[in-house]
């Protein structure tokens, strides 16, 4: 195009409005942030700037781990617990970093394939990717609190389900910081793509990656029966979510097509059998309005009447309506810190330091009784059958 402009100039041809418009477009494109250039071409300095405190803490822990490996046997013997912790921490860091790189690579691949068109080969694999420091900081400032709350409420849930000891809780909370950082990076990347109109098919539920990460953490810090309880609850949660999504979508179809009772049951069955994860996005359920999932016509149309078929043909069917990621409803909600019986204020000390100092006290506890019992006012919801409801109990004022 530029060559053409030059030629025109040389040939002393007059500029046409089309050429001017093209020139304007070119200038505008140059002025705009060109995706994915700033994704890929980050200066190393920016990366350092982008690292939140938690990542630096974790890196320090990794450096400690290296030192621990190289240290004298005497030093290791002097504090075997700490050495074990540091090694474990290093393993978490290494694993977390590898997973994060892989996940970010996948997300970026999707974003890039979204930019250049789908179906042109495999998603790009980018190993050394980081976000622009400013973008990450902005994202952190805007949504950081939300992710804090998701981690906090999920940890509380695990405490409730698995009857965690304080040491276990602290160990998982420590991992939670790394998981939060990893999740924030992932969603900041998604946000960058969204700002440029690129939609990723990844799950936009912010709680899921945090729960998945904490499940991995649970496998490291909890007993198998505790992990099994948490896994089972997560499965129940997913099932409940799917069930509600099917019900909500069927209700939406009913509102559109005025189904009879039998048809409603059939539609629910079809939706359930052909379920697609993005159909269950919360925003789709709440604000989906006239958008419907791409239900297989070969299954749906045979059960519809002629009038219903006519109306259904006018419906917009899309497997994915992109609403952005879901920050849930706890943005701006204040959540109290966990309370323990010993009533020490929660601190951010490395959990396993506590294990060393509290070990004698813990050893005295039984397996079934939490070391710092009464995580909350009532634990009967976790075990409703074993913890009877006291009819005379009056609701307490919130602590």
């Amino acid at each position: 195009m530029i060559r053409e402009l030059k030629n025109r100039k040389q040939n002393r041809m007059s500029y046409t409005p089309a050429v001017l418009a093209a020139l304007l477009t070119l200038l505008t494109a140059q002025a705009a942030d060109a995706f994915p250039v700033d994704f890929i071409l980050n200066a190393p300095g920016d990366r350092k700037q982008a690292e939140p405190e938690e990542v630096q803490d974790v890196k320090e822990a990794a450096a400690d781990a290296k030192e621990a490996d190289d240290s004298q046997p005497v030093a290791a013997e002097a504090n075997p617990v700490k050495r074990g912790i540091v090694r474990e921490k290093a393993a978490v860091v290494a694993e977390g970093a590898a997973e994060a790189a892989e996940e970010v690579g996948q997300v970026l691949g999707e974003l890039i394939s979204g930019l250049f068109g789908r179906g042109r080969g495999n998603p790009a694999v980018v190993g050394d990717v980081n976000l622009n420091g400013n973008a990450l900081n902005q994202f952190e400032a805007q949504y950081g609190r939300h992710f804090d709350q998701v981690v906090k409420t999920e940890l509380h849930f695990i405490r409730l389900v698995c009857q965690l000891t304080r040491e276990q809780y602290d160990a998982m909370a420590s991992d939670g910081k790394l998981i939060r950082t990893k999740t924030i990076n992932k969603f900041a990347l998604l946000q960058q793509g969204m700002n440029r109109g690129i939609q990723s098919s990844s799950d936009h539920d912010t709680r899921k990656p945090i729960a998945d990460g904490l499940l991995e953490s649970a496998k490291r810090h909890l007993k198998p029966d505790q992990v099994a309880k948490y896994e089972s609850e997560l499965a129940e949660r997913n099932n409940a979510k799917k069930e509600v999504s099917v019900l909500t979508t069927a209700a939406k179809v009913d509102r559109k097509l005025v189904l009879n009772t039998e048809q409603r049951a059939q539609v629910s069955k079809i939706l359930s059998e052909n379920w697609n994860e993005p159909w269950g996005s919360t925003q789709m359920m709440m604000y989906g309005g006239d958008h419907f999932p791409n239900v297989p016509d070969r299954e749906l149309t045979p059960i519809l009447t002629a009038t219903q078929k006519k109306v259904w043909r006018t419906v917009t069917q899309q497997n994915q309506v992109f609403f952005g990621f879901n920050i849930g409803m706890n943005q701006g909600i204040a959540i109290a810190d966990e309370q323990w019986d010993d009533d020490k204020p929660a601190d951010d000390k490395v959990a396993n330091d506590k294990v060393a100092s509290d070990k004698p006290a813990n050893e005295a506890k039984t397996d079934t009784e939490p070391a710092n019992a009464k995580p909350v006012r009532k634990l009967r919801d976790a075990n409703p059958k074993t913890v009877p409801v006291d009819e005379n109990e009056k609701p307490e004022a919130s602590e």
Binding site: L24, T153, E154, H156, A240, V244, G328, V376, P395
Partner: protein, 280 residues
């Protein structure tokens, strides 16, 4: 130097400048033309995804046909009964468009006054809600005319089907409320079940069902005695839930404005055709 340039080049530059000025002024005028809103834009505001009044009317007629078909499937209507129902439904559609025309006339009078155009959104909003929720709700002419159109046996059959539909939609909204609360503060499977039972017991379907049902149900949930929640939830979970509820408790005015909450909401009794006649 400049003076030495040949005249054609200077004139070409002048042309370029003129074109650039035209482009800029066209964008500028497009922005300012927004103040004088057009009828098409007004229709777009009211009918949103339907685009304009004509398409919306077609969709509403389709919807009426679906309702009539559904009642026919349930009650086995005669041709005369179908005709009466269609007429009543047509009355609902005309009633809606009369309201629309009234707001449109007001809009046409003030379309050049940006301040007043902003104010007209208060009148547009209920029209939007009505369009998206559907016209053939419990207070519609169609539903009310059923009583005079079908016999007692048909009406009982219709009530059963209608109740099943209401329960189905209500169940989906309870599920949605629980899913959103679950996202804010996760609950165990056992707690989820207890909460579902509590919500089934303590809430009822809104009188006019639509896309904002979630808010209507959440509003009801927020008014449930907190002691009942505290028996199910622990302190931290209740703390999160309660903050969600607090946001909903004061939404009465908005819900009423949107037609989702009515003073008649407590009036749950449905009179059978002959009882209604007797009552009248």
């Amino acid at each position: 130097m400049k003076r030495d340039r040949p005249a054609p080049i200077r004139s070409r530059r002048l042309v370029v400048l003129l074109i650039a000025f035209t482009l800029i002024s066209s964008c500028h005028s497009r922005v300012f033309a927004q103040i004088g809103w057009t009828d098409e834009q007004f229709e777009q505001w009211v009918f949103q995804q339907f685009g304009n009044a004509a398409t919306a009317r077609t969709k509403l007629k389709d919807s009426l046909e679906l309702y009539t078909e559904n009642v026919d499937q349930t009650c086995g209507l005669s041709e005369d009964q179908k005709r009466k129902l269609r007429l009543a439904g047509q009355g609902d559609i005309e009633r809606f468009f009369r309201k629309y025309e009234k707001v449109k006339k007001h809009f046409q009078a003030i379309r050049n006054d940006q301040q007043k155009v902003n104010e007209i959104w208060q009148a547009i909003s209920p029209l939007q809600t009505e369009m998206t929720s559907g016209l053939f709700h419990r207070d519609s002419l169609l539903q009310k005319s059923l009583v005079n159109t079908i016999n007692r046996k048909q009406f009982l059959a219709y009530l059963k089907v209608d109740e099943e539909r209401r329960r189905f939609h209500h169940e989906s909204k309870i599920g949605l409320v629980l899913t959103l609360l679950d996202q804010a503060a996760p609950v165990t499977a056992s707690q989820r079940k207890q909460l579902r039972d509590l919500l089934r017991l303590e809430t009822k379907p809104p009188r006019k069902s639509g896309q904002y049902d979630y808010y209507a149900i959440m509003h009801q949930v927020s008014k449930i005695d907190e002691a009942k929640f505290k028996l199910i939830l622990d302190d931290i979970q209740w703390q999160v839930f309660n903050q969600q509820f607090a946001q909903m408790r004061d939404m009465d005015k908005w819900l009423k404005q949107m037609g989702l909450l009515s003073d008649d909401d407590d009036d749950d009794d449905v009179l059978l055709p002959d009882e209604q006649v007797a009552a009248e």
